[in-house]
Amino acid sequence: MNKLIGTMLVLLVLLGALAGCAAPEPTKAPPPPAATQVPATSVPAATKPPATAAPAPTTAPVASAPVKIVYWRALSGAPGDAQEEIAKRFNASQKEVQVEVQFQGTYPELQRKLQAALAARTTPDVVMFDSPQMPYFAKNGALAPLDDFAKGADSVDLKNYIPGLLADGYFDGKLYALPFARSTPILYFNRDLFKEVGLPDRAPETWDEFLEFSKKLVKKEGAETKRVGYAVQMGTTTAHWYFQELLYAYGNDVSDDKFKVLIDQPEGVAAAKFLQDMIFVHGAAIPGTGPDGAQGEFTNQRSGMHFGSTGSLVNIISTSKFQVGVGFMPAAKRRQVPIGGSVLAVLSASPKEKQAAAWKFIKYMTNTESNVYFVQKTGYMPISTSAVNSPEMKEFLAKNPAFKIAVEQLQFVRPQASIIAVPEATEIFRQLVEKLTVGKIDPATAMKEASAALTKAYNETFK
């Protein structure tokens, strides 16, 4: 009986295998007729222009068929919907290129999928990058240089893009990306609390004033601190951004264009000491860990001031039960604000004609009309002079004074430091901020250690 069952099973499996072998045949068989039929109808079209180097002759007449490209986008919610809408408008606006938008999650998720796609050699044609991630992919040959396209038949006036925003599309002297959803850090403050403690109804101008304001905002109940001036951003994707602004303000350039790390220079150490003293000497700040990070502390009124992305503007105003004020990031020796957000790049693995189509698409995505639409829908920054000066934008800014301040701050933006492009850099910066704000490690030592770690990481993975 056992043997009988066994034999039957074997037979079943073998039959299955036979069926499996047989299956391809029917599918193989039909195509010939289909393949012969299709050309038969389109033979005139296909034979007349024989020289037009058709790469895929079986897929219908080439001359009129649009080039299909795939765009991988990040960002969900309003910025996601706005991208879909702009892509739809692009497809409707012309017949040569049809783009398919594919949502891939957050910036890090998209980047991981791109890594896997590159390893599997099935890449999309256009991708969105968190701007500091772009150079590493460019350096490793994954991206197509865009200079020729920018000058070619579909040329674009690069001078129209805001210089600080276009700058981080370059790597090694070549253009690899155009700015798209850009954001900058701005200072948010709790106007109600400012009034309560007798502060003026404006943001502090300098870091020193920021400290003075913070001290006034501190509230204690016994030994417990109930409120501080500022909760420091500690997140893996945010700590480095705000800390760079402090270093820039203190006159430290973080790193030069040859990736030499400069943070352990005196201005850098002074900036680090300032941040540490705010917590441990003045008790005017806390590390912003915990749920929702520093922003949670601000919206729960446990801190009176907050640095946040311009992209969070709508969110912060709507989740706060108080009047929110907005101002420039504080200055010290100078005012310089590191730009954030994303850029659009084209993959080098795509064939030339798809690259050209991809260029058309990113040109459209970043043109004045699309940008004005995107800005109005999302609160990201305008990226070109023509967008800033357009009547629609002016009207929009008049209605949104908080957003106007963010746009005015654009004159102070500069790209993030070169060293941020090294993959380990953001994690090293996060640990540096932790050492300063949690570990109470001597600023000179912490900056020196971080500098060594950044240089080592650069030599290992980027050089």
Binding site: K3, L4, G6, T7, M8, L9, V10, L11, L12, V13, P108, Q111, R112, Q115, A116, L118, A119, R121, Y136, F137, N140, G141, A142, E224, K226, M234, G235, T236, P287, T289, G290, P291, N300, R302, P423, E424, T426, E427, R430, Q431, E434, K435, V438, G439, A457, E460, T461
Partner: protein, 306 residues
């Protein structure tokens, strides 16, 4: 016999010996699982082993062979030792407490209590809740000032530690969450074990005058030993692979105090683009896990009764 011969004859198969037929049956039966395991487990393992001798970022087309460099780097990498220590701390800190609590709960909920199914369901519920959701809720519970956990601590007059900010408290915080999350599963397994102990054993022992403690000590515990062994092995493996709650709650911070092994592997592969190094780290974890499991199995001969 006849039928099979007949069918073989009909389909034109050559006559197979008994041994050949058995072999074919065996192959046919294991094939579906074996292929799946092969594609999704063995091949990645082999390829991972190969990658561990390479330097690669997954962006350039091909890996570069660098021999044992990744393993040499690993031994000299202070963060490797740190995360290994963190992971073992988390594993040892959570497993014993978890199993003892789970056994106690299982014993209680094995009694005929009113509403015990409800309790069982409640205690089991963390098991089927997503790790990320659990982690997010716990970041609130553990908040120094706003957290729920502050209430009992205040009652006891203890100042709540800065669970997720203080380098000394991050692993204890993770231990609490891991225990809470794993308790229900362990309890259900223990319950199944308890219910499979034959009632005659207890009856016989009672006839011989055994008290409650003796019953537990000499019947329940030994009869549960295979289950306990299973749970110890699987929870150690699970604890060595903790990832999601760390990713959501702390991101390994502050200052690497809560960085666990698998999170470090992930960071190296997908944030630092050191795929080869991540592969080497994975191989090391594989060997460590295998070593611990073999050691456990050896040890189990002394205390597990089947």
């Amino acid at each position: 016999m006849n039928a099979s011969q007949a069918s073989a004859a009909i389909f034109g198969f050559p006559r197979l010996t008994h041994y050949q037929r058995e072999r074919l049956t065996f192959l046919a039966l294991i094939a579906p699982n074996f292929i799946l395991f092969g594609v999704f487990t063995f091949w990645p393992l082999i390829y991972n082993f190969y990658l561990s001798f390479n330097k690669w970022n997954m962006i350039t087309p091909t890996p570069t062979w660098i021999g044992l460099d990744n393993y040499a780097t690993m031994i000299q990498d202070p963060i490797f030792w740190k995360v290994l220590g963190n992971t073992l701390y988390l594993a040892s800190g959570s497993i014993a407490i978890r199993l003892v609590l789970a056994l106690a709960l299982a014993l209680v909920l094995n009694q005929k209590l009113a509403g015990r199914d409800v309790y069982r369901a409640i205690i089991f519920s963390p098991t089927f809740t997503t790790g990320a959701a659990v982690a997010l809720v716990w970041t609130w519970i553990l908040h120094k000032n706003l957290g729920l956990l502050r209430l009992p601590l205040d009652l006891l007059g203890i100042a709540s530690p800065n669970w997720l900010t203080d380098v000394n408290w991050t692993i204890p915080a993770l231990i609490i969450v891991t225990i809470w999350r794993g308790l229900g599963y362990d309890m259900v397994i223990f319950l199944a074990g308890l219910q499979s102990i034959p009632a005659e054993l207890y009856e016989a022992a009672r006839v011989d005058g055994a008290g409650r403690w003796s019953l537990f000590r000499h019947i329940t515990l030994p009869m549960l030993s295979p289950i306990s062994f299973f749970l110890i092995v699987t929870s150690i493996i699970g604890a060595l692979q903790v990832f999601d709650i760390v990713a959501v709650m702390t991101g390994g911070g502050p200052m690497n105090s809560s960085k666990v092994y698998v999170y470090y592997v992930y960071e190296n592969a997908f944030k630092f683009f050191k795929v080869g190094y991540a592969a080497a780290l994975s191989m090391a974890l594989f060997v460590i896990t295998l070593g611990i499991t073999i050691f456990q199995t050896r040890l189990s001969r002394r205390w597990v009764h089947y």
